[in-house]
Amino acid sequence: MSNATTIWIIVAAAVLTYLTRIGGHLVLSRLDRVHPRAEAALDAVPAAVLTTLVAPEAIQGGAPGLAALAVAALVALRFGLLPTFLAGGAVIVGLRLAGF
């Protein structure tokens, strides 16, 4: 693939990515009023989208992956994001280095 082609692919992908980031707002802002049901749908967005970035990985990550996610979920019940991430990360790195 030539240098110019690669650059054009990157630029086109960047433009489309920006459209995904502004597009939802542009569509929604045309509505005069947001129905309470739509409001409830928007309230569900963070958990709904972020969960999809975890669930398929969880079933593919084997026992070490599940152990790391379980530990992270438990730590999250009491502590903030950084301790949660570091605890889960320590479990997965430790188990993988140990050969699991």
Binding site: I10, A14, A40, G80, L81, L82
Partner: protein
């Protein structure tokens, strides 16, 4: 002015855990990109202009194969399609921004940026433009620097799987999911989203499982309806 500076510093403080969690990926991306045949300029250009880790990793995977350019562009678009949902939901939080400020803010709408903004709004704090950019700029700067460093010293990461680096991002995203656990309908939404994404992953394939699973969760949230999330802050100042 003092308020604006304080807001910006407050946002910057919230960027620290994000930067720590994302750093391995920024480096891994840079390393894999040059390994896959991209120049250092192309590698960094992707981080500067696209600024979306998962889609960048998908992109460099495809650059290495003989695939039509439009298929690569479409694949990156598909991976990033979830941002449409963030975008729709974030509008309520940044209604006070000028059009130009909105246009700028949406460029920086990554997963952690969105999650932090939602949490700030949930905690009853105003998501000011200064705060938003104070959060966004360090994340962006580190993301670009990591691409360059990864590209220059790519050989250092030999086996991401053995080190567990490939699994750090799901752990981080789980932490974000957990931080919204006091929202109405959280558990049913998460359950529907998890089931939907796993089924779609098996039946339809990646990356469509993200949009399909998300819609399943959002449909459940919509059907169950219920109270405003604004009063139900969870995390607030916890880092």
């Amino acid at each position: 002015m003092a308020g604006r500076t304080a807001d910006m510093l407050g946002g910057a403080r919230r960027s620290i855990p994000v930067i720590v969690a994302v750093a391995p990926f920024g480096l891994l991306y840079g390393a894999l990109a040059v390994h896959g045949g991209l120049t250092i300029f192309q590698t960094v250009l992707m981080s500067v202009t696209i600024f979306a880790g998962a889609s960048q990793l998908v992109g460099i995977e495809l650059f290495g194969q003989t695939i039509a350019p439009w298929v690569i562009v479409l694949s990156i678009f598909a991976v990033n399609f979830r941002h449409v949902l963030y975008s729709a939901a974030l509008g309520r939080r940044i209604a006070s921004y000028s059009s130009l400020q909105k246009a700028i803010a949406f460029f920086f709408l990554t997963d952690p940026q969105y999650a932090e903004a939602e949490q700030a709004a949930e905690g009853g704090r105003a998501v000011s433009f200064a705060w938003y950019m104070g959060l966004a700029m360090p994340i962006y700067a580190f993301w670009i620097a990591e691409a360059a460093i990864g590209a220059l010293f790519g050989g250092l990461i030999r086996d991401p799987h053995a080190l567990g680096i490939d699994f750090l991002l799901p752990i981080y995203f789980l932490g974000l999911v957990m931080s919204f656990r006091k929202r109405p309908n959280w558990l049913p939404v998460v359950a529907a989203s998890a089931a939907g994404s796993i089924l779609a992953f098996r039946l339809v394939g990646s990356p469509w499982h993200v949009s399909i699973g998300a819609l399943a969760g959002i449909a459940v949230g919509c059907l169950m309806g219920g109270g405003s999330a604004a009063a139900l802050a969870v995390e607030g100042e916890r880092v």
